[in-house]
Symmetry: D2
Subunit: 295 residues, 4 copies
């Protein structure tokens, strides 16, 4: 042996196929250019390929090299989106791992978006951007864009039952109680929306954030003066929502806003509330396609 | 060399003292007997000793052996409390690490306590038990018991400001609005109380849990039928609390309930709210002694 | 309205189906009886049902009530296994949520198993037990048992390349270098094995733990005296393993040990190494059935 | 009442002082200019002030406003360092919270540094930057800079004991075994160094990273071809290190490199190894001052 050994390339007689093998938790800065603005996203990356039964090991260092290449490229020429990059990585994985039939790249980054709070002051709010890309040896390509949004929901059920209790305690105020929003439990809600982006089309993460926040009882803000705080709490009580309601409101918005997209577009909506009245969480999820929703 | 080498015992000419060296994240089942009931607590343990400048390494395996001993002993004879065990471990650490001058043991376990929900149904609620023990070569001993409790707080400030907004929108209901609890934001709150237990005395973790829950706007329960849910939300709105209020209410209860304990008893109270209206948390903390509180 | 309101039962004209809705992170002590030994497992439970398009909300409190029932029952009559309990919970969910067509229960608990370290001393080692149960309205039932095991793997590739480097630096020791295990990077490895348990059969979690540890370079132990430590490090270097090797070794053992189980038994094996030479992890996974493996 | 209510400003007769009250987990992008290079750091921020016994609540929204101000300012004029920013935030907190006597800001961000791997290829490696700032009403100011570094350590003790075992198994190779590095367990190590920066001086985070990596058995890299991998594993085996050794090596480097800094400079060094042979971690820590180290 006059050079280093390629143990991974050893041929196996009786191996099993590996569904996916790769590296997880690689952190890199990715420069993205969106709406004329360049931002550096601290991105966590997982990449995988499959491995046939005949090969002992996947060449893990190639994964890190590909990630390095795209990071370098993004410094010179910022990428248009994380989901575009995820598909690009998946294609490169397939090229470098000649034995693989499928390749996946999953990206996740904190992303800041400038919002106006109720009194119109600017506030940079943090969101999680998600992106998935897949490439198959048969030429199929797939990419998804997603967002994870922290907001607020107020419970519609408790509000009605407190209304009932208030009437018992304050019978003289029955008319007032019937007309006004009543107290209820409300809490931090985390909702994720992930959507396939068909080739040749664009789905803006900023739109997904708007759709998700529209489905909640209220968005939340880092900066709230006293009247802002009153405003969003008041608004949330005028729009109480179960996690089921949030998921459905988002599905409705998607149906309306993405009329032009094809039937097979995959959609995942998940909403989890960190219940203020329980030590556990409440969760609702729909995994579907545009076609199913339109049926 | 005719046996294994004790690299740790190497003598250093120019070492530095190490403040603490040990092992973290050791998981063991500990059998505790409390009020005639035996329970197995899945406990996470960290132990440390200091190391003089002259010794290269601490004998880490002795730490694991001591933990093993006390776990075995607890199976045969359940311990009376985690804090008692923490002090016992610290003493054994000092015996086995003859070069150390101080030894620490920190324990943490999920603990279930049977509670009654508002309609009187039993529900096993989870809490975190904390215990710390310290032993010094000069004979000093110290132990602390603590609890980490998940509950609920409702914001007093937003309630008053929503009261003001409601009057603007419903001027005809001004009297009703003045008399009744109004909507406000409420959320999951996590409060920790840690308290020194002087030698010869006992502080019951169950009492600490009761004190902490009493300081919140409301305890929370896993099981709540519709009227229970209305009850605790209603109660929370009649007792709105900032994190500062929670910390102070707990300090007040401690002053009242532990009249007999000496001045130098250490107390830590920390309350953190997972704000429903923000993406960040609110936190208040007091680190003090009974003497300071009584002054 | 003369009683509390059932907001969840509101009928929707244009709702969407929800794939799953339920509660997550419920913590309860579950008493399990295994091999004549009763243990209390601190268990984290997630439960879900689907929700038809016509119903506004799922009755979340029924989920907590069912969990409460089975916990109470387990105190009086310990359950035989977590996976049995998961299926039982799924069945009860389907009974109580009359509108649901499918119900799921996922359980996770730390579990301690008595092992012998290399010198024969007893040591209680922590593992994670996993269980899944599913019930469908059409009468189908499914349950899975799983384990998450922390162990050690040593890299076969780096060992061969260091062998090559050693020969360059110590040409006079070439024979020794060829015959002996050489240094390589090794690290903490976390491997998960999840396996379907067909109705009428039993799969012991303890067997799964043994199979997983057998696939690694070495199991790990909390208690290791100097010669034990040398033994397991030495052993690991005589059995270097990629994450791909670990997954395949486990698949082989399953094929051998579960000859009697049917073709459609689902199997998931995932192995993740916290690489000592990288800041990221390496991961391999196979999702398959016994039938596929036997083909 | 003709405006919103300032519930926080309520005067208490019998309150307790609160040691610290503030907000935690605020995420913001901070633009830093270092060595002519501008980078955006996704930063997590905690801020606190104390609260006198006479005030019911701290004005939490002022905290978020101050953070917003400095983020806006950093976009226009990048800050020179996170620790400078931490002190600046602390000063502004003290100005806005007129009742407070002390203010703290803690910052944490992922930071990428370009390194050369053993074969000279560039690789962007992730580190955690830490910064703390404090301001007191009496005019005292304090700031600290820190780094959290992931690297590798190889155990010196197991290497010697395996050397002993190898001699028993391969007596004919005794000379070779004595001369060459032997196998040992090695693992991912996470080491934190936090150091006070006296007014008028600068401590570069890049220097701290270099010092910490120099104290480990080896730095780690995301990109390693086969010969690079062999090189760093080989190097690590020629420089085996306990966590105690790592802490002391870093203390030594600090003494050498910061000769000009005053005695009262605070230093914290903590090293934690995710032991490959155990399910728990090993930890060593020194909390000290330059003066103590020089004594």
């Amino acid at each position: 042996m006059n050079s280093t050994t390629d143990v991974q390339a050893m041929i196996l007689d009786e191996g099993f196929r590996i569904s996916r093998v790769g590296i997880t938790g690689v952190q890199k800065p990715i420069r993205v250019k969106r709406n004329e603005r360049e931002v550096d996203l601290t991105t966590t990356i997982d990449v995988f390929v499959d491995l046939p039964s005949t090969h002992r090991g996947s060449h893990m260092s190639r994964n890190a090299e590909i990630i390095n290449e795209v990071v370098d490229d993004s410094v010179r020429k910022p990428v248009s989106s994380l989901e575009w990059l995820a598909e690009d990585i998946a294609e490169r994985l397939l090229q470098k791992h000649e034995y693989a039939t499928t390749a996946d790249a999953w990206l996740r980054a904190t992303y800041f978006m400038e919002k106006k709070n109720p009194s119109g002051h600017s506030t940079l709010e943090p969101y999680i951007l998600l992106a998935k890309g897949r490439a198959n040896r048969n030429g199929e390509r797939m990419k998804m864009v997603g967002v994870e949004v922290v907001g607020m929901n107020a419970c519609p059920c408790a509000m009605e039952n407190i209304r009932y209790e208030l009437k018992k305690d304050y019978p003289r105020h029955e008319a007032a109680i019937d007309e006004m929003p009543c107290p209820t439990h409300n809490q931090r809600n985390i909702t994720t929306l992930l959507m396939e982006v068909p080739s040749g089309t664009t789905v803006e993460a900023d739109d997904l954030i708007r759709i998700v926040e529209g489905g909640m009882s209220s968005p939340t803000y880092e900066i709230l003066k006293r009247n802002d705080e009153a405003k969003i709490v008041y608004d949330a009580h005028k729009k109480p929502r179960f996690v089921e309601d949030i998921v459905r409101a988002i599905l409705s918005s998607i149906l309306e806003e993405y009329i032009g997209l094809p039937e097979d577009v995959k959609i995942v909506v998940k909403s989890e509330s960190q219940e203020s009245i329980h030590k556990h969480n409440a969760l609702a999820e729909r995994i579907t396609t545009l076609g199913e929703l339109r049926a």
